[in-house]
């Protein structure tokens, strides 16, 4: 259910998942062919954090620290020349236009029937922290590691896919209250 959703005309149905998947697969293939790399998301978050750290701590210090140095090769302006940051900006624009054209843009909090919006936000932030840390450790997320590396048969990508979904299913009964 969506809290705060006022009655409006019903949104359009979603596209068949296999068709949407083939569309994403062709986009990924286009990325391989055009720029020799794949899709990503968590890498853009890492760039944003590194730039924010540089703004707070000073560029010299952040650019010398091993955790943030790779994202600051052109200093603070690295962000605007970062392929993944520009790509993720495109994801936001594409997601918005698709939702808007389908009548699905709506301000609200999506949550399970047994929790309220505030509890959902705590869970969302907690989940985000785990994913941010996990994606850094794994050097990628569902986009850059599972999808992009998986399609290239990367060993580490398939280790990531297996560990990610095995954990999700193993812990699902314990998290049931959040969703069911």
């Amino acid at each position: 259910m969506i809290s705060d959703a006022r009655g409006r005309k019903p949104a359009a149905r979603y596209t068949d998942p296999y068709l949407a998947g083939i569309g994403i697969g062709l986009v990924l293939l286009a990325a391989y062919v055009l720029v020799g790399r794949g899709l990503g998301a968590s890498g853009a978050f890492a760039s944003v954090v590194a730039t924010g750290t540089a703004a707070v701590q000073g560029t010299a210090r952040a650019a010398a620290a091993p955790a943030t140095a790779p994202y600051l090769q052109q200093g603070l302006s690295s962000l605007l020349g970062d392929w993944l940051v520009l790509e993720l900006a495109g994801v936001v624009a594409g997601g918005f236009l698709s939702a808007w054209m389908a009548g699905r843009t709506r301000r609200g909090i999506v949550h399970g029937p047994r929790i309220d919006g505030r509890q959902r936000l705590y869970a969302a932030v907690s989940g985000g922290v785990l994913m941010g840390f996990g994606a850094k450790l794994a050097r990628g997320c569902t986009s850059g590691q599972a999808l992009t590396g998986g399609a290239l048969l990367s060993t580490g990508s398939w280790i990531f896919i297996a560990a990610c979904f095995a954990t999700g299913y193993a812990l699902a009964p314990a998290a049931r209250r959040l969703w069911r």
Binding site: I24, G81, L88, G128, R139, G144, S157, A172
Partner: protein
């Protein structure tokens, strides 16, 4: 011959220009498929909605088969496509943390941006949490670095490691995915 960025047809400015276009199409198809809805994604873990599996694996299959055959026909040189490096234990541990976060958060990094773009505040919550998680990782990096750099195998495919041909690996993944699709449709038919 491609990748165009490696064969000199696409210069640095051209490469950057592709980023928002590729991202736009990615975000468009994610939203079209319903992947901006946290409950739909979480349903994957309770076998009530298998959209994540279907989208992820049909996308993976399309890109894998496309890249394999373009390489075979000499239109794409897969040696020049960036292959993520393998670090066995960090990627296994990262996958465990990420899977737990995916279950609790209901959206992954890319889909949280789609959810936020459509107005969902929980998508913004995931984005904020992600930034905190990355910052925490960076803050603890000196302590994590030995583990982060451990069990490095380099840029390697599982077909190289198993000593089988790339084609055999592609066939294996295709067979597993098709079997998964069949199981998914059977599970859906059993649902009341």
């Amino acid at each position: 011959m491609s990748p165009l960025s490696e064969t000199g047809i696409l210069g640095p400015a051209g490469v950057l220009l592709t980023a928002p276009l590729i991202g736009f199409a990615f975000g468009w198809f994610l939203e079209r498929g319903g992947l901006g809805d946290a409950r739909k994604l979480a349903g994957q873990f309770y076998f009530t909605d298998l959209t994540v599996f279907k989208v992820l694996f049909s996308a993976l299959l399309t890109a894998m088969l496309g890249a394999f055959w373009l390489d075979r026909f000499g239109l794409l040189d897969l040696e020049l496509v960036y292959l993520p490096e393998t670090f066995v234990l960090p990627q296994a541990a990262g996958g465990v943390l990420f899977g737990a976060g995916f279950l609790v958060g209901g959206l992954c990094p890319g889909t949280s941006c789609v959810a936020a773009a459509a107005g969902r505040i929980d998508g913004l919550g995931i984005i904020g949490g992600m930034l905190l998680g990355v910052a925490g990782f960076n803050a603890a990096f000196d302590w994590i670095a030995p583990f982060y750099d451990s069990t490095a195998l380099g840029a390697v495919t599982f077909t190289d490691m198993a000593g089988i041909s790339r084609g055999a690996g592609v066939a294996l993944v295709t067979a597993i995915a098709l079997a998964g699709f069949a199981v998914a449709s059977r599970l859906e038919r059993q649902r009341p």
